[in-house]
């Protein structure tokens, strides 16, 4: 798509500055965080459908014992791509979609700190995804598992793991750039009065996630570069015969890989922390505790990686240390669960679709958390590691947790983003189908793992007694697929409704609901001045002396009296005229386009390397020379 059309639009060296902010082409040049958020969301959802199809293929293959529907070579590609897709191309970018769209709105900013860099992140992510998937046609898809353990990932004769290494490096560039961009945005661009401890929990979790990304991505980058060099240039980082060490890869991978787990789950925790108070009509119980436990999870998340490696033979000292640190991380996680339930306690719970997903998140995450504690019991993990028990565990965390949370977020913010509601009736059907399907799919995997079914096997004999629960699991997977399809139809159908959404359809508490739905390009006609946590709620409701909460009259004293000393912006009036916004640009897309070309060059010849470098450098130079706005 973009990859084909853009070079055609290049006259000699200079690009005419695009000016359209609406219409088809505007999507390729946009630097608006809201449009970029939507692009992230659509792309991630497309990959979700692809990764889900791969999951269905896995389940079809494993539905019965001794099946040969997929041969081992294809099966290994499918399960690897399922993992790579869901982690790097679905949950991470879907979270990025929420961050991009919502963080500036929630902190009362007009855009992110570096809008063009934001566009670059998106394009680099998209091209990374396309690059990895192009492997199916160019010499075999990655087949060494998403964890890519060396030396197996090095000796494999297909090109798959080279695509894996380069693709993830490109995706890593996208994530690193985005992490700094969003962190700077949160730290520097908050509206007047929005102190750190008036930020919504979702913004806090966003900040923690960006920090996790900034510190963990360099580690996997080193690992991937070493893997790439071993594969392409004959180095021996992971070959013990020449002084290398295969365990080095495992450390590098999991030192990234475990923080990554929190990169995937913390956004959903943030979403749930926004949804629960709104539909309980109560503030989040113990806001500070929830924030600090999120930060604690982020910190401790860097000290538990070797619990993926208890069976490697690191010795009893290391296993003890990492077993105990893994138990410790359960404490802040438990705190969050109890605080969410404290939020529901004595509330006025309205079970809308977002609320159902949020409560479903808690119920499922508890199961994933408890099975997680059994892995910290190191000797017990000796049995469970690399079995379907682990597959069950992390799907309860990443599907029952992250995906349910993200779906809740989609239902919650859909009216804000698109100005239309998703059908609540259909939404409830989607939720219950998904919840039932999910438990049918992954619940039995606990049993399968304990009964001795290892992961990543393409076939199993009937004699092991694994056949029944595998069939149940496959039926569950198709139930999930039906629920996702219903969601998809419902999402498309929502665009046939009239676009007439009030600013605050849920009676929400945070300031993104202050502006129109969808928000104008400049977000807020007038940058809100923030006086408290749950600013919007306090503008709508007041507490009497007896502790009763009463609505304040519309347009009345609910709007906190404007203190001239707050210095709210005067230039915001009149529908945003005169507001300085960065202009659209081709250059982020061009700069990102060079990266996959360079990547192909590492496999297919120096010419592509040079072409890729030229494209990226041209993009960067054009970018530098172009004023951010005209």
């Amino acid at each position: 798509m973009a990859t084909v059309s853009v070079p055609a639009e290049r006259p000699k060296g200079v690009l005419r500055r695009p000016s359209a902010t609406s219409g088809f082409w505007a999507w390729f040049t946009t630097v608006d965080h809201k449009k970029i958020g939507i692009l992230y969301g659509i792309t991630a959802f497309a990959f979700f459908l692809i990764g889900g199809t791969e999951a269905l293929l896995i389940r079809v293959q494993l539905a019965r014992p001794d099946q040969e529907i997929l041969n081992p070579a294809v099966y290994n590609e499918i399960f690897t791509m399922h993992g790579v897709t869901m982690v790097f191309l679905v949950v991470m970018p879907l979270s990025a979609a929420f961050f991009n769209y919502l963080l500036p709105l929630m902190i009362g900013a007009r855009d992110v700190a570096f809008p063009r860099l934001n566009a670059f992140s998106y394009w680099a992510f998209l091209f990374a995804g396309i690059f990895i998937y192009s492997s199916w046609f160019l010499g075999g898809a990655p087949n060494g598992g998403w964890f890519g353990y060396a030396p197996n990932s090095v000796v494999d004769p297909t090109r798959g793991m080279t695509f894996y290494a380069i693709g993830l490096l490109i995706a890593g560039i996208a994530s690193t750039v985005s992490a700094f961009n969003l962190a700077v945005t949160i730290i520097n661009m908050r509206a007047p009065g929005m102190t750190l401890f008036r930020m919504p929990v979702f913004v806090w979790m966003g900040l923690v996630v960006q920090m996790l990304l900034a510190f963990s991505l360099p580690v996997i980058t080193i690992g991937l570069v070493e893997l790439l060099f071993d594969r392409l240039y004959g180095t021996h980082f992971f070959d013990p015969a020449t002084g290398g060490n295969p365990v080095l890869w495992q450390h590098l991978f999991w030192l990234f890989g475990h923080p990554e787990v929190y990169i995937l789950i913390l956004p959903a925790m943030g979403i749930v922390s926004e949804i629960l108070p709104v539909f309980s009509r109560k503030p989040l119980f113990g806001y500070q505790f929830v924030v600090f436990s999120g930060i604690a999870i982020g910190f401790i998340g860097f000290g538990v990686w070797a619990h993926h490696m208890f069976a490697v033979g690191l010795g009893p000292v290391a296993n003890t240390a990492f077993g105990v640190s893994t138990m410790i991380i359960a404490i802040p996680t438990g705190v969050k669960i109890f605080n969410w339930m404290g939020t529901m306690w004595n509330g006025d719970l309205r079970f809308t679709t977002p609320m159902l997903f949020a409560v479903g998140f808690i119920a499922m995450f508890v199961i994933g958390g408890l099975s997680g504690v059994t892995h910290a019991i190191v000797p017990s993990d000796y049995q469970q590691t690399d079995t379907y028990y682990i597959v069950a565990h992390f799907h309860y965390v990443l599907f029952g947790g992250a995906i349910l949370g993200l779906f809740g977020g989609m239902y919650y913010w859909w009216p804000k983003v698109f100005g239309r509601m998703l059908s609540e009736t259909v939404g409830k059907v989607v939720f219950w189908l998904m919840l039932i399907g999910f438990n049918l799919t992954f619940g039995p995997m606990h049993v399968l793992g304990l009964q001795g079914m290892p992961r990543r096997i393409q076939s199993y004999p009937d004699s092991l007694g694994l056949s029944f629960w595998n069939l149940v699991s496959t039926i569950g997977a198709f139930t999930i697929a039906v629920s996702v399809l219903i969601f998809l139809v419902s999402a498309i159908a929502s665009f046939r409704r009239p676009k007439e959404m009030v600013a605050d359809p849920w009676d929400a508490r945070t300031i993104e609901w202050l502006t129109s739905s969808p928000p104008p390009e400049h977000n807020f006609d007038e940058i809100p001045v923030v006086h408290s946590l749950d600013e919007l709620w306090h503008r709508k409701y007041a507490e009497t002396e007896g502790g009763r909460v009463v609505p304040v009259a519309a347009g009345g004293s609910g709007e906190p009296a404007h203190d001239p000393a707050d210095g709210h912006e005067a230039d915001g009036h009149g529908g945003g005229h005169g507001i300085h916004l960065p202009g659209p640009s081709y250059f982020p897309l061009i700069a990102a386009l060079g990266l996959p070309v360079l990547g192909y060059g590492l496999m297919f010849g120096i010419g592509y390397v040079i072409a890729g470098l030229v494209i990226t450098l041209a993009g960067v130079f054009g970018w530098i020379l172009e004023p951010s706005a005209e």
Binding site: N71, P72, A73, N76, Y149, P151, N152, D156, H236, P240, A241, T242, P246, S280, R281, K282, F285, G286, A311, V312, G313, P316, T320, I331, G334, I337, G342, M344, N346, R350, I362, A363, I367, V373, T374, I377, P379, S380, Y382, Q383, D386, T387, N439, G443, P444, V447, L450, G452, R455, R456, I457, S459, P461, S463, L464, G465, E543, G547, V549, P551
Partner: protein
């Protein structure tokens, strides 16, 4: 509703786990002390977790019902922002529970890591792509896919990854017998034994012990012990390439007397095929084509001279004493053997044994010869 479904499901899961049919590779049925210890811990933690599960999901359910919105309700709930005492309590309480779980956990970690003392059988386990080699250094036995052990005696396993480092130019070059330790690099400048690549595997017989990874360049150990005679299934757990799913093995536990008999049988040389049979022609093919990768103790060429083989592939001296091949996922019988010899890669994806293009007659001769290896 939701939580009820959940409770029902998890209760179902527990029941199902307890009475699964034919679970012959199950971590829930420990058959020796080294599996029993982790299992006891698991059961203990399972019930702690189950109690927390019931408590939390129960509370969630009660809250969801009790505080749901009612149509006649107009009053907005009190805006409670938190309760420090409560929050401190639910931080400390899980900490105490986890501390209670941590103590036996750490104790068991060290128990299991200790090297067994006294009357111990030592076996070297080599993970190949995609089969297991078992070397008994004291008994001088080399076998494949079936680990025979005596009951009631700890078996101390030394685990190594066999095969070539990925820097090797010629992975088909013959190698010496497998090194019994896992020092990085080939001994005395020779390539290590094994014709596949040297990759990470994981040795696992759930009924006898937890997992131990097999890591190239690293010497790992695992102790197993079976209390009762029987066959215990195991499987490579760490993804190790194309045919990872077909890398199983069994542990056969004998009474000590039966085990001694098995050892004596295995120590004997292979019988020389009787003159005039198909097996003689088969042996000749074997001497010509197979000894680069396979060894048969007592093998002779046409002139009666001893022929040394290599242990890059499975040692075949007493092939037919085994029940299974291809990582113990195929029954060892004439039909399967013939199919294997006809085209190994048809039977095992990515097999390191090439198709030698044997004619039907030669296939018959080979099967006849292999059948003499009892």
């Amino acid at each position: 509703m939701r939580s009820k479904t959940l409770l029902g499901l998890s209760a179902l899961a527990v029941v199902a786990a307890a009475c699964a049919p034919n679970a012959s590779q199950s971590a829930l049925e420990p058959a020796g002390p080294y599996a029993q210890e982790p299992h006891n811990l698991f059961v203990f933690v399972f019930w702690v977790a189950a109690a927390i599960f019931v408590l939390v999901e129960g509370m969630l359910l009660v809250f969801a019902i009790r505080y749901r919105h009612r149509k006649d309700r107009t009053r907005i709930p009190a805006q409670v922002h938190g309760n420090t005492r409560l929050e401190v309590a639910w931080t400390i309480l899980p900490t105490l529970i986890l501390a209670g779980v941590a103590v036996p956990t750490v104790a068991t970690i060290w128990d299991l890591a200790a090297e067994p003392e006294g009357d111990v059988l030592e076996v070297n386990v080599l993970g190949h792509q995609w089969w297991w080699e078992f070397d008994y250094p004291e008994q001088g036995i080399v076998t494949a896919n079936e680990l025979h052990i005596p009951t009631g005696r700890p078996v101390f396993l030394t685990l190594c990854a066999a095969g070539f480092g990925y820097g090797e130019e010629d992975p088909s070059a013959p190698g010496p017998p497998a090194p019994s330790d896992c020092q990085p690099g080939p001994p005395e400048g020779l390539p290590p034994a094994g014709i596949g690549a040297s990759v990470v595997h994981s040795f696992w017989v759930p009924e006898l012990a937890g997992t131990q990874d097999v890591v190239p360049g690293q010497t790992n150990h695992l102790t197993i012990q079976a209390d009762e005679p029987g066959v215990y299934e195991g499987q490579c757990k760490e993804f190790c390439g194309l045919s990872h799913a077909y890398m199983k093995h069994v542990v056969v536990a004998h009474t000590p007397e039966d085990f001694d008999r098995w050892v004596a049988d295995q120590q004997a040389d292979a019988a020389v095929p009787e003159p005039g049979t198909d097996a003689v022609a088969g042996a000749a093919i074997f001497v010509n084509q197979c000894t680069q990768c396979h060894a048969i103790e007592g093998l002779q060429d046409e002139n009666g001279e001893p022929v040394a083989g290599n242990n890059g592939g499975p040692n075949l001296t007493h092939l037919m004493s085994r029940e299974c091949f291809r990582g113990c996922t195929l029954p060892l019988n004439d039909g399967n053997l013939r199919a294997w010899l006809e085209d190994p890669r048809e039977i095992e994806a990515g097999s390191f044994m090439p198709d030698y293009g044997l004619s039907p007659e030669e296939l018959d001769q080979m099967v006849a010869f292999l059948n003499t290896l009892e």
